[in-house]
Amino acid sequence: MRGGLALGPPALERAADELAHHTSRFEVYAKAGETFLFRFLPGGRLERRQQREVGVGCRAAVRGLVGFGAAAGSAPASGRDAARATLASLLPGPDPLPPFSLLGASAVPPAPSLGDPAGGEQLLGQLAAALTRTGEGLSLQELRLLLGRSVVTLVTGEGFAAAAASAACLLEAVVAAEEGPWRVFQFAARSPAELDVELLATTARETTLLLARGTAPREGLVDALLAPPVAATLVAALAEHLLAGKGTAAGRAGRVSEAWHLVDARAGPQGLVPMPFDGEGLPSRRLPLAAQGVAGGRLGTWADAQRFGCPWGAAVRPSYQHPPRAGPANLVVTPPEPLPQGELLHHLERGVFVPLCSGPVTVDESGRFSLPVAAASLRRGRVAAVHPAAELRGSFRRLLGGLLAGGEDAQSFSLSCAVTTPSLLVRGLTLG
């Protein structure tokens, strides 16, 4: 993967040429992505969007000064603009770029083929038909299919060059029962061929109808079976918390459940978006975040590692527009002894089933979270009451310590990062 600079768009080469006049300690990161978005709207109207996102972001260290600049476009002028913006932003600071000797790439599964994007319209039509087939009391608000592929290229002034391709697809359905709020369902996969339209439609229909009417829950501590969409939202927030080095207190106290096995599988093979290198060219590796009763500590970019003394390799870069930052990339939860959903419900006996989020999670500095959800109270494994609007609250300390088991029903989601998780059974969360 090491070679010349003849990779990526002309903007990348021009940016490298401009920066090379000033320093060899620079990096140019180019991303070229193409996205097809299909929206199926009420009345059968279809909206198509074809979007190409391309640009370069540069970091440079010049005699004790460091800077970052970025510009959109693939033409040489864009590379020139990005390089000049970088040089104009130079300020005193430590060199943030990893040393050449550490740069590299890991082996990853090849990016899947998305097929002919025009097939997306057919897929949406199938889903619409499956959702409305029985017709009873379900209103179809919107279906969205997003097919995305991209190539990132990273070169440095010291001669490192690497490129990586990725692709994924995302299907979202917004539906409502006759009485009740809109519900949003998301299904992500590496390719459209992996999407089971009938299963998605059944899940969305049954969940929406189940959660249409009910009462507010009486506030209290509950054992909760979190379906994959809810588990994924909390897992993504937990991973951010752990990566920032805020989860070590729970780890030291031995309060991490043995049932946790959460890793950032950056190089795959599991998960939605494996990549051969991180956001600054360090080879991807598996980063354990909670496993064998221990929560991981802070992980960071190379610059974080120099500042905080933490391990590096956790840089993410969703776009060329921003410098790398520490964050989870490709989270995977694999319980050591996964259970079928029937057994999870049996374990629950008396508690709540939380199949769906109804808003974004909020997290405070100490790791207490609050998540709007729709839920159902269970007694002896049967639905005793439905709560169309409720709030699930707790702390990451509780979430780490209270995991009892995980399911066999892993699903993938595209949130602030990619998350693949099954249902999780957690003791002692608050529903209100």
Binding site: R49, G69, A72, G73, W182
Partner: protein, 400 residues
Amino acid sequence: MASRAPSSLEALAAAVQEVRPDGFRDLYIERVADTVWALEGGAVVGRHTLLREGAAVRFPGTLRSSDGATRVILAELLGVPGRRLPPVSFPPFPPAPPLEGLAAETLRAVQAVRWRWRWAGLVDERSWRELLRPQLGELTCHDGFRILSTWPPVAAPADQEPRLPRGPVPPTGPLRVLLAPAAAAVLLHEGVGHLLEGDLLAANHRPLVALGTELADPALTVVDDPTRSDLPGGFSADDEGVPARRRRLLEGGVVVGLLADRETAPRFGVPPGSARRASVHSWPRPRISNLVLEVAEPPETPLRHEADVEVASVRSGSLAARTGQVRLAVRRAWRLRRGRRVHALPPFLLAGSLVDALRRLRVAGPPAPSGEPGWCGKAGEVVPVGAVTPWLLTEGLEVR
């Protein structure tokens, strides 16, 4: 929002109008410069600059967009040979303004300052137009809260009020809430602005409101005003090229207008002019610009003695358009007794029926301009908005 030379937009428009690609609706070109300064103790410790240029072409039911706006890219988006288009050049990215112009106490009170310059041009079948917006300034406070205004950001975001000890959240249930202008702006934005956006009304099988609905207290008159270039949501023309004008939404508490783009306007029988794009990659959609609540004779001082809680700022707000439930995540608030602040409150949630909240809403203090809610997100697409609202008192929200 000063106008500038049209650069090559006029020549480009002539060429596009001559070629007339099949089904062509419009071509949108945008240039955006963003500079962010990171600060520690008032000193600059980092600076990033992002220069974006892109273009989008609309055909019936289809939007094609790309980063970059070279002749080759424009030709590709339009589906015409490159030689049919003239060489193009658009206004250059201006240099970022000096940060030294901002007050030292402002710089000490924040962790980041952001400046944004944005230029856009639109070509349709018959005309072309530059779309001018004010330069924006954003301050990021130490707790991550962001305050948006036009450039330069003048208000020091530091909590100026004397610090009071923090007490418990009020018990769950209804209470009398006094909303300062920045918080009132969020309630109006969610409750009046989003509720009257044409695409959301069209998508909802059972919309909560229609023209003629008595929505709020008869004392309330609300206008959407993009001509206010001193507020973050100002523009010279919307992103479909319709010249900006004030749009009356509520008159005496009754719905008299809606926010519409060219697509939804005919459906509701209202004029277009509220189409906004978050970026070249977004469809233009009906969006709020600057909401202004007009009041004849507001009280000169906030009516604290009539409230249980005073809310100074709200971190976020949301409206479930189908159920009419509004939620405000309160950031800074105080418990009031006999018109005096007795203790500060930790963050909490205010929620309730929007209709209840608006019908039991009255003016409770003088108006003030505000950048709140700042960046308005809708289906993941974010645009800057502003507001001018007085202090408001409502009894229709509950602590959750």
